[in-house]
């Protein structure tokens, strides 16, 4: 029997929500991957999306960024009408997924310049320089992405995601395969992003990351939100009792 303690309400903060997803469903034929997900995210929130493998976390993210069309339900970004998923929305999202979305044969700088042009970043050179510094990439700007370690590649991917100063950062298991140094940078970066008023949606396997960064978390299992928690203590509690929750 699933428990759906849903504390998503708009009473918090009083801003308009940045994202409203209603009854979001994704089916492939008869197989349901996401099952009537309701989600509201406000500006400045850092939301962690937890859950075991195959729960639908990645699919949820792909739906939210517009790579996949939902079978049913609606997604509203920045108060725009559902269904309007044009360039205006995409320009405000920064996405880091499992695949780095970079060309391995091009250098870091070339990759970043390319994306800067796609996103219409005006002060591209300066922005690349600044992000390079922030993420410790300055020495490697001229290296081909292929030659970088996974940790470094992920940093470049982060740089790519932040190039156009997005309002929302969406990360799909950003900590996978990261070395300690890169992990620290990641956490730093996300914290600063949130502090600057940005919104973060992050799927992760690692509860510690969620506890460190998230103010809110939802736990997905088999396409449904099983529980959601607000605040570190609550999250900690839920994570500890999670193995004992019987879900059918």
């Amino acid at each position: 029997m699933t428990t759906q303690i849903d504390r998503n309400d708009a009473t918090r903060l009083g801003h308009d929500p940045v994202l409203t997803a209603r009854a979001l469903t994704k089916r492939y034929g008869w197989r349901t991957v996401l099952n009537r997900i309701d989600l509201t995210v406000h500006a400045g929130e850092c939301l962690a999306i937890l859950g075991p493998n195959g729960a639908g976390k990645t699919t949820l993210l792909r739906l939210l960024v517009g790579l996949v069309r939902p079978t049913a339900g609606s997604i509203e970004w920045f108060g725009r009408p559902a269904g309007d998923f044009g360039p205006a929305v995409r320009a405000q999202l920064g996405v880091v997924m499992h695949r780095i979305m970079l060309d391995p044969e091009l250098t870091v700088a070339e990759n970043l310049r390319y994306y800067a042009r796609l996103y219409g970043v005006i002060d591209a050179a300066e922005r690349i320089r600044a992000l390079g510094e922030e993420l410790g990439l300055t020495d490697r700007l001229g290296d081909r992405v292929r030659s970088l370690s996974r940790g470094f590649q992920q940093r470049v991917a982060l740089a790519r995601a932040l190039l156009h100063r997005p309002r929302v950062l969406l990360l799909d298991e950003p900590d996978t395969g990261l070395d300690i140094a890169s992990r620290i940078r990641l956490v730093d970066l996300v914290e600063r992003f949130c502090a600057d008023g940005g919104t973060v949606l992050m799927t992760t396997h690692a509860p510690e990351l969620a506890i460190q960064l998230a103010q809110r978390a939802i736990y997905l299992e088999r396409g449904r939100i099983v529980w959601s928690a607000r605040g570190r203590d609550e999250l900690d509690l839920y994570l500890r009792i999670q193995p004992r929750l019987v879900t059918v």
């Binding site: 999202l93 996405v95 979305m101 091009l106 796609l118």
Partner: protein, 222 residues
């Protein structure tokens, strides 16, 4: 962010990548030259009928080379998720279509120029004249508009190697007929007779360019 700067960014990136890896053009080139070679043994490319057989050989080589090229190009694009990165960016889908089309045209043109040189030198065919070049250009444009659309469509589908030709060949029949006919006529000096075929090729390219740009968005969602 203007569509133009996005367009040039994509084309430049495609060209730069190809310059670094040099997989596509070389692959297509090898395919084309081998096809011409085999055709020379199968049909007499240096005999009296060589305008017709040469023209046929050229276009078969071009069709197979572009098929190969498309297969490789979409696979390369989807390594490491670069294609998704592009889809996530605020580039309008028709712009992506045109950019991918132009990149492919550049590569195919390089291959074709070599093929034409081979035909001119080894088989003494008068291919390097404006009439023939115009036909080759128009025919290639027509093939590539269809190719861009369907290659993107079949990129993530199983049996892409079979499916893409299965879809493309019947649709490209007018291009093949028109291009071969027009090339033969031009080679034999009947430029006037080639004109209606050229119009057909041009109309085809324009029509499917428009259709491709319109429907590309539907093809790029997952």
């Amino acid at each position: 962010m203007s569509a133009w700067s996005q367009f040039t960014a994509i084309v430049k990136r495609d060209l730069l990548l190809e310059w670094r890896a040099r997989e596509l053009v070389l692959g297509m080139l090898v395919m084309t030259l081998l096809t011409l070679l085999v055709f020379n043994f199968a049909f007499d490319l240096s005999g009296v009928q060589r305008a017709a057989s040469g023209s046929g050989a050229l276009w078969v080589a071009i069709v197979f080379a572009t098929l190969l090229g498309w297969g490789r190009a979409v696979a390369l694009d989807r390594q490491e998720g670069a294609w998704e990165g592009l889809l996530l960016s605020p580039v309008e889908r028709p712009v992506i279509f045109i950019a991918k089309l132009v990149s492919m045209l550049v590569f195919v043109t390089i291959v074709e120029l070599v093929a034409l040189l081979v035909l001119a030198v080894l088989f003494a065919l008068p291919v390097l004249q404006p009439g023939v070049l115009a036909v080759v250009g128009l025919g290639t444009l027509g093939l590539c508009t269809l190719g861009t659309l369907f290659a993107a469509m079949t990129a993530n589908v199983r049996s892409r190697e079979v499916l893409l030709p299965a879809l493309l060949f019947p649709l490209a029949v007018p291009v093949v007929i028109g291009a071969v006919r027009a090339t033969t006529l031009e080679l034999n000096g009947f430029t006037g007779d080639a004109a209606p075929w050229q119009n057909l090729l041009g109309g085809f390219a324009a029509l499917f360019f428009a259709l491709g740009a319109l429907t590309f968005g539907s093809v790029t969602e997952e």
